[in-house]
Symmetry: C2
Subunit: 159 residues, 2 copies
Amino acid sequence: MTNAIPTPMMRPGLRATEAAALDWASRVFTEMPVAGLLAARPLRCDPQRGRMTVAFQARREFCNLMGSVQGGMLSAMLDLVMSFAALATLEDGYVVPSLEMKTSFVAPARAGEITGDGMLVRKGRTIAFMEGRLVDPQGNLLATASATGQIRPRPAVAP
Amino acid sequence: MTNAIPTPMMRPGLRATEAAALDWASRVFTEMPVAGLLAARPLRCDPQRGRMTVAFQARREFCNLMGSVQGGMLSAMLDLVMSFAALATLEDGYVVPSLEMKTSFVAPARAGEITGDGMLVRKGRTIAFMEGRLVDPQGNLLATASATGQIRPRPAVAP
């Protein structure tokens, strides 16, 4: 995974440090129901380069007939961490919903802790390209993904 | 979406009628934790052609910052309905975990009922190609997907 985006210029509302970015992510996760379902917890963030690392907790109820975490539920973790890699580089008040997403399930994932890395690959005015990966606590690669997101203002009131 | 597979020969354990297939799906859903999370309920099934329709209930906790169902959670619904389109054509005792999956999120999805259609496009000895789509209660298209799955015996005991 290469990152071709230049360091963005600082703008109002941007998070200057990793500590500020982690504080921002923790706060936004509490407003985001699916972050609660996935027990998302921000671990690392580089708001200049658009990199985000999030710990998830895969519940037993995320599992399939083989007793491993269903692929779609891994996609949910990847979707979250990729969108936050993009969001971290933006001023407050934006969202980056995915337009499309491709996931490769490279190894079975067990219930328990799963760590996700998201990376902003390229950011335009309204479109962001992102990549992500998930690993288990031993660092084994579980899944990789790429996604295209649309950058737009967050709706004032959630419907 | 075209379906090029020929009608398979009947083999032991295969479900001959739609009623038998729906009974089978309801039973297997109860053994599959993620089917419970998604409140999956089989609606229609053509076990000869590899077609499956499933009703899901998207909870509020599946939603993102915009108040719509997170894309990854839609992928979880699509993953389930696509794998069951393939499973419906197989004898008991198989699983079809996804190797890779691509989803397009064509419209925001609200919490509540979402209906998924899965279709087996082509089945080999160990590989299945599938397609899927989700619609809202008004029939509006929400998301489309394609996936590649691996056909293999279900592990004797879930880990």
